[in-house]
């Protein structure tokens, strides 16, 4: 009798029967995912809007002509090199972040702190690169948003942003080319600015959880799930950069 009770008393509980999470994730982590989903829709809307404007334009600036500078190299023509460095820094900081999350799974406080510190350093390096790029473009364009709106702007101020193939069209339709240049830079500063804002808040979050880790807050709590949640956010920021990189610098 007692044997049968033991057998029937421990059936596998139903997945959606209550008492546990059917998805095997906590509320906080699931909501982090849904927040990132909504953020993905925001970034997606920005990038699709950029794409629509580009499809609507008869001519479009060439990334290899716009982004070809590297700090310290003067006017050397090195397209894509600087943004490749930025991409490398961000991928690297994603790796250090996932190593911090991994250490958190094993309750390894020392390694969580070490990898978080590297992630913060990577984030700050990326932001410094972006600051240099924006400063450089500011000097070249004489502004950030809203440049190239004056119809009397001389052609040689924006002609060099276009590829050799487009030069004949640009010379025949300078106003069309100026409009494209104006829109290209408006989208560029809006989207990379919004992404840079995410990196900035990610660095701040990382500093906060580093302080908590070092102070033993998560050790006392018994788990490092907060590191995991901030890790999700940080990887999302890297993910967005993968798409920004493709849309602005490659395509």
């Amino acid at each position: 009798m007692s044997q049968t009770t033991v057998v029937t008393a421990a059936p596998e509980p139903k997945l959606w029967g209550g008492g546990r999470s059917p998805f095997n994730v906590s509320y906080g982590k699931m909501m982090t995912w849904f927040f990132l989903l909504s953020d993905a829709l925001t970034f997606g809307a920005f990038l699709i809007s950029y794409g629509t404007t580009r499809f609507f334009s008869a001519v479009w600036p060439d990334a290899n002509q716009v982004f070809k500078s590297f700090p310290g190299l003067g006017e050397h023509n090195v397209p894509l090199l600087f943004v490749s460095l930025m991409t490398f820094i961000l991928i690297m900081s994603s790796v250090t972040m996932v190593l911090a999350v991994h250490a958190g799974h094993y309750g390894d406080k020392k390694n969580v702190a070490k990898w978080l510190l590297w992630t913060i350093i990577g984030g700050i390096c990326f932001l410094s690169c972006q600051a240099w790029e924006w400063t450089h473009l500011h000097g070249e364009l004489g502004g950030l948003w809203g440049s190239f709106t004056d119809p009397n702007t001389p052609l040689d101020q924006f002609q060099h942003f276009f590829s050799h193939k487009s030069q004949a069209f640009v010379e025949a339709n300078p106003l069309v080319a100026m409009q494209s240049t104006h829109e290209f830079f408006n989208y560029f500063f809006t989207i990379t600015g919004f992404h840079g804002g995410h990196v900035t808040s990610g660095v701040i979050f990382n500093i906060l959880i580093l302080v908590n880790t070092v102070n033993g807050v998560y050790e006392r709590r018994g788990h490092y799930e907060m590191v995991e949640k901030i890790g999700l956010y940080w990887h999302f920021v890297d993910l967005v950069w993968v798409f920004v990189f493709t849309c602005f610098y490659l395509l």
Partner: protein, 150 residues
């Protein structure tokens, strides 16, 4: 009775800090960070890092030297394919979505399929307006020419 007390403790976690239940620490902590399992995980992370790096280098080489000679649709498919591949690795491995329950993976991914429609609709609209602009410009030009001939 032992099953009951175990259920009770899970219930206790669930009503208190659920995160303890799901954050993996109950499964992992007793293995230790130097265990074989942990080392394999770290190995997998570095493997993905190298894959991401190689893909990025391939993209940059393509962008620097070849993207202007090759047909545009081919270049676009090359870049978009590699971008989606990179995104897949980041989401599946770095964000650990690949390790979650299947139901959760589907729940997160399904809304993103809206993008297929968004991209097709908006880009087609942009292309359509460019064609409309060009055609009306051409009509306008030929009308101006006819007037000047008369």
């Amino acid at each position: 009775m032992s099953t009951h007390s175990q259920e009770h403790s899970i219930q206790h976690y669930y009503e208190g800090d659920q995160s303890k239940l799901y954050s993996g620490i109950i499964n992992h902590a007793h293995h230790g960070v130097n265990s074989e399992e942990s080392k394999n995980q770290v190995k997998r992370i570095w493997k993905i890092f190298w894959i991401l790096l190689v893909i990025t280098v391939a993209e940059v080489i393509m962008g620097m030297f070849f993207s202007h000679q090759l047909p545009k649709p081919l270049v676009a498919f090359f870049f978009l394919g590699l971008t989606l591949l990179k995104a897949g690795y980041i989401v599946a491995i770095f964000m650990h979505l690949g390790d979650e329950f299947k139901g959760f993976i589907i729940t997160v991914l399904i809304p993103l399929f809206l993008f297929i429609w968004f991209i097709i609709a908006f880009l087609a609209d942009g292309g359509f307006w460019l064609r409309m602009n060009n055609e009306s410009q051409a009509r306008h030009n030929s009308a101006v020419q006819e007037v000047s001939h008369e």
